[in-house]
Symmetry: C2
Subunit: 150 residues, 2 copies
DNA sequence: ATAAAATAGGATAAAAAGGTCCGAATATAT
DNA sequence: ATATATTCGGACCTTTTTATCCTATTTTAT
């Protein structure tokens, strides 16, 4: 009962983190990313690779290499990341697990649930990486819980 | 990326189904329940047992036995079933997986996500079994997709 | 008492999600 | 050219969720 998969949570946080650091294409290594967002390193590697394939991130191998955002990626929506990692099943499948649904045969919570689900979708569509990254930079929110706040 | 676990989906549907049939404590056998909601029989057995332990359902063994709602269970909220099966983690844990959260260290989507999450909670709290059961009885919604509508 | 009909519950299996390991490939700096 | 630093990708492991199977237990009907 979690709305996003772990992979998706890490993806979002990783992309936001990279957005906070990508003045002049500054590259971040895997280790730095996973430390910044508090995620397991090897697992994070897989996810960053996926994001590279999905053309959200760029990667460079070798010394001085690492990950950074693809051009323009600061302006993409969180929704794009969610789609890339978790797909759209949350927004298309039935909340009650009906194999098929139709407006004449909806599930018992359809009427009340659908508007909320659409709200979530709109929220994800309307929230950009840039916006969240700025919020992190201002210290309004965090990508990882810190015991002692500096 | 599904809001409820399968176990929880089946629970909700099973309880609603029983509510549609509990005029005068009519008992339904496992097989009838799982057929009505389109769920695997043995797995459904486990879930109904859980609901019995949680005092949502009553069960009677032997010939003529089966499952029915506990007294008053028609008036409980969907939220009660969700709590009984999935717990409250969806409503208490961070959407972005932060181990701990505070209002001074929220995750990047906190501000936009929390109100929606609360809406879902309110929706579940304000929706009774009775209400959904009536809706099913009126044919406004279904617990299982039927290819040919009678 | 006995047979039959049901749920209860333990053991197990299969599938999905989450996570790790390590060698191959590649780019860089010297 | 070479050593080094890094990502890439396949194989593997672990945990959780979903599902099945089988036997024990309980209740009812006769
Ligand atoms: S009824 Fe609503 S929630 Fe259920 S399948 Fe159709 S759209 Fe999805
Ligand atoms: S910030 Fe919001 S979503 Fe994140 S942990 Fe706190 S309450 Fe949960």
């Amino acid at each position: 009962m979690h709305i996003f998969s772990k992979a998706c949570e890490y993806s979002i946080k990783a992309v936001i983190f990279l957005a906070t650091r990508t003045e002049s294409d500054q590259r971040m290594r895997l280790r730095e990313v996973s430390k910044a967002i508090g995620s397991p390193e090897a697992f994070t590697a897989k996810i960053l690779q996926q994001l590279v394939r999905q053309r959200v991130l760029k990667s460079v191998k070798g010394p001085g290499g690492g990950f950074c955002l693809q051009e323009d990626a600061r302006n993409i929506a969180l929704y794009r990341i969610v789609l890339a990692i978790d797909g759209d099943s949350f927004f298309t499948d039935c909340a009650m697990g009906l194999k098929k649904c139709s407006e004449t045969q909806p599930c018992p919570i359809h009427k009340k649930f659908r508007p909320i689900r659409d709200e979530i979708k709109e929220m994800l569509i309307n929230t950009t990486i840039l916006e969240t990254a700025k919020s992190v930079q201002k210290g309004e929110c965090v990508l990882k819980f810190f015991k002692h706040r500096e």
